[in-house]
Symmetry: C2
């Protein structure tokens, strides 16, 4: 099946029916994909406040009403409990299970958060003629813990996680401009050039994802990363939290290009 050319609605149907249970990378070309975090309402204000205070790593695309599974804005009537290929269930900060459907454990006080994903701006970078190394090398993007403190909200805090893409010097300004136009999917870089300044000692050893080649004439460019809010949730060790499994995203009905201003 050519999932790349299919519509988000068609692919979401296959996901709901569990005919697709794998990663969504490359599916429904041109459409934005989203990260998931589900928390009980008791923690939802602090988590929304955490995202509001840290919009660069935690750009909120949509938040459900308490108890509601319905996704209205990012898709036409999708279901937060069935329309991700794989979910992770966390209890007190410990991963307890991976499942393909959370209908049976949905609680009336659950609030879902859809958070923007850098997949969206990578499509725009490629469109603009800017190389995206981990895609060229068929790897996951390299991600790093940093010393950049986040603003706390309730039990949520910690440091920012960033993703890194090596960019040729003569394309750095264009890279900043292309990504700055898309603040709902992390926006402009948070740092350019000196990994040590943000607490990264070795860019060949990412904390998450895979290392990629940095060629002569390229400079490492760092963006706020969607792993940040997930990390903050895990570190806070709430009694229950649900996230998507890495790479197993929600495919929205929204074109990447319409996430620009």
């Amino acid at each position: 099946m050519n999932y790349s050319a299919m519509s988000p609605k068609e692919v979401r149907k296959l996901i709901k029916e569990q005919k697709i249970t794998g990663q969504t990378s490359g599916m429904c070309a041109g459409y934005a994909q989203a990260n998931l975090c589900i928390l009980p309402k008791e923690l939802a204000f602090d988590f929304l406040l955490f995202c509001t205070r840290n919009p660069r790593p935690c750009p909120v695309l949509e938040v459900g009403d308490a108890g509601s599974r319905i996704i209205k804005e990012m898709a036409d009537n999708a279901d937060a409990a069935t329309d991700f290929p794989k979910y992770r269930i966390w209890k007190n900060g410990v991963l307890t299970k991976e499942v393909n459907d959370i209908s049976d454990i949905w609680q009336s006080d659950f609030v879902y958060f859809l958070i923007g994903c850098s997949f969206s701006f990578e499509a725009e970078l490629i469109e603009a003629g800017i190389p995206v190394r981990h895609i060229e090398e068929s790897r996951n993007v390299p991600m790093f813990n940093t010393n950049i403190p986040l603003k706390k909200a309730g039990i949520f805090g910690g440091n920012m996680v960033v993703s890194m893409r090596p960019i040729p010097y003569d394309l750095v300004v264009k890279t900043v401009n292309v990504t700055a136009a898309m603040p709902r999917v992390h926006g402009a870089p948070i740092h350019i050039g000196n990994p040590k300044l943000i607490g990264i000692n070795d860019i060949s050893k990412p904390d998450y994802g895979d290392a990629v080649t940095v060629k002569d004439g390229e400079i490492p460019v760092f963006w706020p990363c969607g792993v940040t809010p997930q990390n903050a949730v895990m570190n806070a060790k709430p009694p229950i939290a649900i996230t998507h499994s890495p790479g197993h995203m929600f495919i929205t009905d929204i074109k990447n290009s319409s996430l620009k201003y």
Copy 2:
């Protein structure tokens, strides 16, 4: 006293001491001013969600932790309970009192919301050579109820309130660009040209504020207005809510120019 040339810190001190209890318009030239809404934590998630879903009329500048009066981001250690010249106390949607200090009625579950104000972009319009009619005519900006529906969150909903400024045809594009660069203070216009299309029958009869002259060669331009969130709170009739009195704003330490991207 020339309050226009004074620093925000100095003016806030006079406000805290109740030596200033009047409107803040024109004070501390160049610095952003902010709207206030205070709600009990029980309603804070829904209100923050309402703002998140309606960022154009409800641009959140800062939200306090539950129970905290301290303003950290928009000012250096200011106090949400004393640093506005005048507060309005609402019970079940009814205005019950206006006071200059709310220290004595502050509750441990209160959450304050500071919301962006179009004062900030008006300074930028004038700087760009664009006339701002109500300032020229020393009136309050004309504001209107519209038929533009807001996205609901819990008990909060209703239609958008807009402000109107007549703009010469040849400056409309510049006006859009100048204000679009400041999304944290309402950003670009929401409508240009035909008041009837957004449910306004007579632009000489504003629902709030004062009418202003629309000259030949000018077109009415409408922006999302900060009265919107206050209206939503009043219409929801919460047991208790506190807002600033109209025009009696919080003066931040943030320059209008730094609210741009």
